[in-house]
């Protein structure tokens, strides 16, 4: 009885992974090896299990890697990858620079205020994501709130909507809580007496921060950076709404393949390659998370 329960508990995570990761992953892999046809659904071959083993053979023979070959031939895809990774990396660095002082500030506040500030960080999540991004359009557009404010201060207007700057701004804004919360979790849990010990041993408050607080918060910073980096690299909505046409990101490429070209295999292939290149960061993240939890 007891054994049985333990067994189920051990299997559950794997069941979860199989159901929500491995199975969809296999589906998408299969799709990426198919080719387009004008039908419902718009790709072939279809697996016909009523034919038994013969049906499986026909299905497997119908799969090929031509779509991947096509990805390799066109530099667009590589450019889109590099551009996505670059933008996500820049946003991650900005998030660290902005998120760290916020998380640190909150962790140094009196406990009562701390909770209120964490809530303030999470609060925007209760509003629709789209509405928040549209709000940025209203702020950044040429005759928008930002330029009105700049004009009020006697400063020249800026035109950053539909540029990469706006995309970075949107990414940093939207992902800030994902950076602040893991950092805060690490900083908040940090033993106050470590700082006192450092100061007691002659470290100035600044030295105590750099020698003790900062190195000990690095797992949180890594967790936050990876937590943001991975979805940011695949982000579609923010670059679509705030970015210009030249903001080339993978989300857009997948969209084009899927919708404009009605090419599900190509969209799937891009997604598979994206997953493969991000598998490394994901694994790193897992490791970092292990460290944070221990």
């Amino acid at each position: 009885m007891r054994r049985g329960r333990v067994g189920l508990a051990a299997i559950l995570p794997f069941l979860w992974l199989a159901l929500f990761f491995a199975f969809p992953f296999l589906l998408v892999t299969k799709l990426s090896l198919s080719h387009t046809v004008l039908a419902i659904p718009p790709y072939a071959p279809q697996l016909d299990l009523s034919q038994g083993l013969a049906g499986l053979k026909v299905f497997l023979d119908g799969l090929d890697t031509t779509t991947y070959a096509r990805l390799a031939q066109d530099r667009l895809y590589l450019d889109a990858y590099l551009s996505s990774l670059r933008i996500a990396a820049m946003a991650a660095v900005l998030l660290l620079l902005i998120g760290y002082p916020i998380a640190y500030g909150i962790s140094r506040c009196p406990p009562g205020l701390r909770l209120a500030l964490v809530m303030a960080v999470i609060l925007p999540f209760w509003t629709s994501f789209l509405i928040r991004i549209y709000a940025w359009i209203a702020i950044l557009k040429p005759a928008g709130i930002l330029n009105a404010a700049l004009a009020g201060l006697g400063l020249p207007p800026v035109d950053i909507l539909n540029t990469e700057t706006a995309v970075l701004l949107g990414l940093v804004y939207a992902y800030l809580p994902f950076m602040v919360l893991p950092l805060y979790a690490v900083l908040d849990r940090q033993d106050e007496s470590l700082i006192e010990a450092a100061q007691d041993l002659g470290a100035t408050p600044l030295a105590a921060f750099w020698r003790v607080t900062f190195p000990l918060s690095l797992p949180g910073a890594a967790a936050g950076a990876l937590l943001c980096f991975i979805p940011m690299a695949g982000e579609f909505v923010i670059p679509d709404l705030l970015g210009g046409s030249e903001t080339l990101m993978l989300g857009r490429v997948i969209w084009t393949e899927f919708f404009a070209n009605r090419d599900w295999p190509a969209a799937s292939a891009v997604a598979i390659v994206l997953l493969a290149t991000l598998a490394v960061p994901i694994l790193l993240f897992e490791r970092e998370q292990g460290k944070v939890l221990s």
Binding site: E196, D200, L201, G202, T204, R211
Partner: protein
């Protein structure tokens, strides 16, 4: 100490506090500190001398840790001042005070190795690299952790971590080392060993130690002098023997060791002896007081003799029956009921291997104690 008989004072050679010419290393002058309206430290004045092993003893919440943190600089006094070698520490932030602390949970830096932990304070002082390396070796040898310099704190046992914390605090050669409940996390046996090692270390280095503890035995073992604290105030300062044998009041008497108290009024003063009229009859003890005042007679259980036959002399004699007893190996403690609702503790050293108990529950006994073994307390 004036007005009180000196106990064992003649043999003591290290007693700078008795020397009016001696200059204290640390001096608290009327220091007070409150948190959110609650007083933690209340008008404390105290001197600690060079090379002294000083203990702050009291229950949790008595203000002893706050007093230590005031000295380290983590708290700022609301009133009064703290002097180190005559210099006011008031304006000095913690990192500029030559006072180092060994934290209760050790507060070792988990991301640094043992050697790096020890080097931390030395680097802040700007000590030369070669000297740091030498000092690390010296410290590791001192706390008997040779060869463990590369380990991380999480690879060490609790006792080893405690030694690293000690080495780290001692490495920059503080003028005074503060130890906040240094042995609270150790098991009993290790704690006793460590107490003696700590004393030996202090003797070797000659560094002034100030220890905060709630464990009276620990304070008695390690300290040259003990300050007993209660509700932010210092109730008594003295050598362990003074604290134990001549407690300043009922609180100290009760906090340090077991005690039997007899409430009464002073009936007569005869030289160093006082006769107290109590519900248990007239009892004699040493002390000072005014006839007619309320007072308490305190006598430690081990100073109460247990007789199975009525003793001849009538002084300080009480008859009763054994209500309960506890065999502790070295001692046996008896709970004797002298009248309904009144029990007295008596302890007897088990000087011989008596497997046959001479006394059991319900046995009639007589208790006596010498007037010189008891003390009269007026508060």
């Amino acid at each position: 100490m004036s007005g009180r008989p000196q106990i064992g004072g003649a043999r003591q050679t290290f007693a700078p506090w008795d020397d009016p010419a001696a200059r204290p290393l640390v001096r608290f002058e009327g220091v007070s500190k409150g948190f959110d309206g609650a007083v933690a430290v209340d008008d404390v004045s105290l001197s600690i001398y060079e090379r002294e092993f000083f203990a702050l003893l009291g229950p949790s919440g008595c203000g002893k840790t706050t007093l230590m943190r005031l000295l380290a600089g983590f708290e700022t006094p609301d009133a009064g001042r703290i002097l180190l070698e005559g210099r006011d520490l008031g304006p000095e932030p913690p990192h500029r005070r030559p006072v180092h602390m060994m934290f209760q949970a050790y507060a070792l830096f988990p991301h640094l190795s043992v050697a790096e932990n020890i080097a931390f304070g030395l680097k802040r002082q700007g000590v030369a690299r070669a000297e740091i390396a030498a000092r690390i070796e010296e410290m590791l040898a001192l706390v008997k952790l040779e060869g463990l310099g590369r380990r991380r704190p999480d690879q060490l046992s609790g006792g080893q971590r405690q030694r690293v914390a000690l080495a780290r605090a001692l490495a920059p050669r503080p003028r005074i080392l503060l130890l906040d409940e240094p042995m609270a996390a150790l098991d009993k046996k290790l704690r006793e060993e460590t107490q003696f090692e700590l004393m030996a270390l202090q003797q070797t280095l000659g560094t002034t130690f100030m220890i905060v503890t709630h464990d009276q035995d620990e304070a008695m073992v390690v300290a040259d002098r003990i300050a007993v604290m209660r509700e932010g105030r210092i109730v008594q300062v003295g050598r362990p023997v003074e604290i134990y044998e001549a407690p300043a009041d009922r609180y100290v008497a009760g906090f340090v060791g077991d005690v039997n108290l007899f409430e009464g009024r002073i009936a007569a003063c005869e030289g160093p002896l006082i006769r107290l009229a109590t519900d248990d009859g007239a009892l004699d003890a040493e002390g000072a007081g005014v006839v007619g005042d309320a007072a308490w007679l305190a006598v430690r259980p081990e100073k109460v003799a247990v007789h199975t036959e009525p003793p001849a002399d009538g002084r300080n004699r009480l008859a009763g029956t054994v209500l309960d007893y506890g065999y502790l190996g070295d001692w046996t403690t008896y709970l004797v009921e002298t009248r309904p609702g009144r029990t007295i503790r008596a302890a007897r050293a088990n000087a011989t291997r008596t497997l046959l108990r001479p006394l059991g529950c319900g046995d009639p006994v007589w208790l006596t104690f010498a007037p010189s073994s008891a003390v009269v307390l007026t508060k």
